[in-house]
């Protein structure tokens, strides 16, 4: 069984991986052929374009896959170029090669990315701010370098040169074992090396996207909050994503300096940032092939305009950017591919029927409901103790010194009118809000001051009131990410995923559908299954039956009871059918305080509860 699941999970990736191998082989072949037969002028120009392709790939990775709109790519590119220059000018005479300078340039860019990323992502800066902050960083770098005209601004033999730039940067030079002296790569040789590097980097990025790490990065792009609540250390992953992009951009920068033997502050300026945005946006933000297509198409057009002797290139570039934004927001390559796909799927849909895509999966759930897969049955629950817990917002005390003890098993219901503080209490329990007073203990251990992702990793799972999925990932990927976030074991996560898909009756084509395209009821079950796939020790369900019919509500009761045999399942619910059927003990909250506790029947006799619910003063 497990063997089968593993191959299944890697099945999707395999397809894309095979494609990547094929395209990489084709790419290398093309580079070799062109470098052998191209004329030298053309090769010189195309070499530069290939360097730009590498820069574009860094943007495809960080923006298209990571969802971070980072203009800092320009800063990394420039820092890479200047660092290569400084290192190579000072040391290439001694070492006889400049490969070490390339490595130094990559390192310098990565260090910058870690510093900048720490401030941006550990501060949890909003997305728009990331765009302007990173652009400001790039532009300030440009201003700084422009200000270094005085020859006192130098590092060893390398004169920064201010507005005029740094000159006399050595070409890319390698030392080949068994060969006399070192070899400077010029012309066709440089083209071949740059081309091979561009292809290999695109290939590696394609593989990384399919790796466990890459999947998590994609999940953060799709829904940062859910990722955080699943226990993924989001800032750490973002800094890693950012640093990888910096390594690629820094490499591109060093090759740029080696290619032109020159670098000036224009590498940091607005036009460079625009060019990068135009290439990638025109090509398609998440398409690696698009990075190549974008660079070559845009550069060919702007060169053609430049040869006519006019200076309207930027006008055209700006116009192209606006046109793409307005007319083909997906970009050239994805748009063409989606046309192809539409043609293809239409043919398939005509041929086959779509039975398993219908939303009715209750039948399967009903059959399986008693057999919650062994792989996700929680081992052992933990007690949850809330002691004098309180939080207020402005003048409103949302949770007012609440004290409750939940034993380590069983279903427990929280009731109360709107605004009673139920969801706020949940947010305090998972760590989205920090308690202002009081204490939360899980399994006897105080967790009051721990982060939400720490609590998730330590067994607290929540299904929030509002659906929270990774919309553009498949059903299977959603489950896999939730399981992997907890276990850190891709094989185990794949096994859990397959078991849950089978249990839900979503195996088959449903598993490969995007989460935002399935029926609402199915999304609700998927959301709950994601919480289950973490093998929680405490499960919080905020209105799990919202929008469900009677039959599905009954199923939900059985599921909650089944899980409640092992761990505490705390449910916020308005649906009295659910509360009655579950037979669970009830806590009623009102205006942030506990109003009553007991069985549903006891609660119904309680005059204070009746007053609150019936509006009697």
């Amino acid at each position: 069984m497990e063997k089968n699941t593993v191959t299944r999970m890697s099945g999707i990736g395999d397809n894309r991986r095979n494609q990547a191998w094929g395209l990489a082989a084709l790419g290398i072949l093309a580079v070799v052929v062109v470098s052998l037969f191209g004329n030298s002028f053309q090769l010189q120009q195309w070499s530069q374009w290939l360097v730009f392709c590498i820069l574009a790939i860094s943007f495809v990775w960080v923006w298209g896959h990571g969802g971070i709109f980072s203009f800092a790519q320009v800063a990394f590119f420039g820092v890479g170029a200047y660092s290569y220059g400084i290192f190579a000018i000072n040391l290439s005479d001694a070492t006889g090669e400049t490969v070490s300078a390339v490595l130094f340039a990559v390192l310098a860019s990565v260090v910058l990315a870690i510093l900048l990323g720490y401030f941006l992502f550990y501060g949890r800066v909003a997305d728009v701010f990331v765009a302007i902050a990173t652009l400001a960083v790039s532009l300030v770098f440009g201003t700084l370098m422009t200000g270094t005209a005085d020859t006192k601004f130098r590092v060893g033999d390398a004169i920064l040169g201010g507005f005029n730039g740094m000159t006399g940067i050595p070409s890319l030079t390698v030392w080949i074992p068994g060969r006399e002296g070192s070899l400077s790569l010029l012309g066709a040789e440089f083209f071949a090396v740059a081309g091979a590097m561009a292809v290999v980097i695109a290939f590696v990025v394609a593989l990384v996207r399919e790796s466990s790490f890459g999947r998590i990065v994609g999940a953060i792009r799709e829904n940062e909050n859910r990722a955080y609540l699943l226990g993924i250390p989001v800032p750490f992953y973002k800094v890693c994503t950012f640093s990888i992009s910096a390594a690629i951009a820094g490499l591109a920068g060093s090759l740029y300096a080696a290619w032109g033997n020159f670098v000036d502050p224009t590498v940091f300026d607005l036009q460079m940032a625009t060019l990068l945005a135009v290439w990638v946006f025109a090509g398609g933000r998440s398409s690696l092939i698009g990075a190549f297509v974008g660079v070559f198409a845009i550069q060919a057009v702007s060169d053609a305009i430049a040869t006519t002797g006019t200076t309207i290139t930027p006008l055209i570039l700006g116009g192209v950017l606006i046109a793409v934004v307005l007319l083909i927001p997906l970009g050239i390559v994805p748009t063409i591919m989606s046309w192809g796909q539409t043609l293809l799927t239409r043919r398939i849909e005509e041929a086959g029927d779509d039975e398993d895509l219908r939303s009715d999966t209750n039948g399967s759930l009903k059959k399986n409901i008693e057999k919650l897969p062994a792989s996700v049955v929680p081992r052992k629950g933990m007690t949850v103790a809330v002691d004098g817990l309180g939080i207020s917002f402005g003048g409103i005390t949302a949770v007012d010194q609440v004290t409750i003890d939940f034993p380590s098993t069983g279903v427990h219901c929280l009731l109360g009118p709107n605004g009673a503080g139920k969801s706020t209490l949940f947010k305090l329990l998972v760590g989205l809000y920090r308690a202002q007073i009081g204490d939360i203990r899980i399994g006897g251990q105080s967790v009051t001051h721990t982060s939400a992702s720490w609590r998730a990793r330590n067994g607290v799972s929540i299904k929030s009131q509002v659906l929270s999925l990774f919309p553009r990932l498949t059903v299977r990927e959603n489950l896999w990410i939730a399981a992997y976030a907890k276990s850190g074991d891709p094989r185990d996560a794949a096994a859990v995923t397959t078991d849950l898909l089978h249990w839900l009756g979503y195996d088959g084509r449903m598993a490969e559908k995007r989460a935002d395209t399935i029926a609402h009821g199915n999304q609700q079950w998927l959301d709950i299954a994601m919480a289950l796939s973490q093998r929680p020790t405490v499960l919080l369900l905020d209105e799990p039956t919202a929008g469900m019919g009677r039959e599905e509500t009954e199923l939900m009761v059985s599921v909650a009871q089944r899980i409640g045999e092992k761990i505490p399942v705390i449910v916020v619910e308005h649906d009295m059918d659910f509360v009655r059927a579950s037979g669970a003990p009830v806590v009623v909250l009102h205006q942030g305080k506990i109003l009553a506790t007991g069985t549903l029947d006891e609660i119904r006799q309680n005059p204070e509860v009746l007053n609150v619910y019936l509006g009697r003063a």
Binding site: F69, L116, Y118, F119, L120, Y122, G123, R124, V125, A126, D127, V128, F129, A131, I132, A133, L135, A136, V137, L139, V140, T143, L144, G147, T148, D269, L270, Q271, A273, T274, A277, V278, F281, T311, I312, P314, L315, L317, G318, G319, V320, L321, I322, V324, V325, L326, P329
Partner: protein, 288 residues
């Protein structure tokens, strides 16, 4: 340090703060009220400066030229909102890229219209002597204009009907729409207001800088840093951030040179967003 030196330093700080306010107010209004980052903000300022230059060359007094320049950028802003920005509201990234493309187009158009050599407007009002130091008296005008504009914006958004409606649409778009506030119209209006203020800032600063088609970049860098530090609060955020950054820049560049000044501002800005990710005004949860 003599009294005159201290007075000059303080005036220098005040004038740097005033420049930052003039540079960032238009961007801050559009960002604070619409959550749109106008990457072409620097180009609106550049056009304001060129409009003022053209007027002055035609013999129009500078004061009137500044008013005409802001009207000019207001009209341009309206055209751009209707033709471009309005179609991009649904997505943050689209507005970033769209206005980014626009900045390139506007720069190039300016280059074609006014050429690439730097131009200038003579600084009016002559010099002000304090002890053995001199200072352009126009700096005082800039300080007054910055304070006045900040106050006017505050009064406009708290006292006027349109200002209140604009704030209502930011706070709760659905509720505002349900009350019959036309949010599309409000957005157009806000964008026009932001463009006019950008143009006015550019025109006011025009006599103190070299006017070129590419001057927008320098402005936009400073405006971005100010808005990042200030956050979405239009008046409070911009005001506080300008005071903090202006003071730091002037002090550090006086002590250690202009490059150190720029670097200091960047470092302070990055540290501030680590501590206050939504800017200084984010903590206050206020729109203004």
């Amino acid at each position: 340090m003599g009294m005159d030196q201290i007075a000059i330093l303080f005036l220098g700080i005040a004038s740097d703060i005033a420049s930052l306010i003039l540079i960032s107010l238009g961007l801050a209004i559009i960002f604070g009220m619409m959550r749109v980052i106008n990457f072409a903000h620097g180009e609106f300022m550049m056009l304001g400066a060129f409009f003022a230059l053209t007027c002055v060359r035609m013999g129009i007094p500078l004061w009137l030229a500044i008013v005409i320049a802001s009207l000019g950028t207001a009209i341009l802003g309206m055209a751009i909102e209707v033709l471009l920005i309005r179609r991009l509201y649904r997505e943050d990234e689209a507005t970033i890229l769209g206005t980014f493309g626009l900045s390139l187009v506007l720069t190039q158009v300016a280059l074609l219209l006014w050429g690439s050599s730097p131009e200038g407007i003579a600084t009016p009002l002559g010099a002000l002597n304090i002890g053995s130091y001199g200072l352009s008296a126009y700096r005082l005008v800039l300080i007054g204009a910055a304070g006045g504009l900040l106050l006017l914006v505050w009064i406009f958004f708290t006292r006027s009907r349109i200002g209140l409606m604009a704030r209502a649409s930011v706070e709760s778009p659905e509720m505002a729409a349900a009350l019959g506030i036309n949010s599309a119209w409000i957005k157009t209006f806000t964008f026009v207001l932001g463009s006019a203020l950008a143009g006015m800032g550019g025109a006011l600063l025009a006599p103190t800088v070299a006017i070129t088609a590419k001057m927008g970049t320098a402005f936009v860098t400073q405006a971005f840093v100010t808005v990042v530090v200030g956050g979405a609060g239009v008046v409070t955020g911009t005001g506080t951030a300008s005071v903090v950054l202006g003071t730091i820049e002037r002090l550090v560049s006086t002590l250690a040179g202009p490059i150190a000044g720029i670097a200091a501002v960047l470092i302070v800005a990055i540290i501030v967003i680590r501590i206050l990710p939504t800017g200084v005004s984010g903590k206050w949860k206020k729109i203004l």
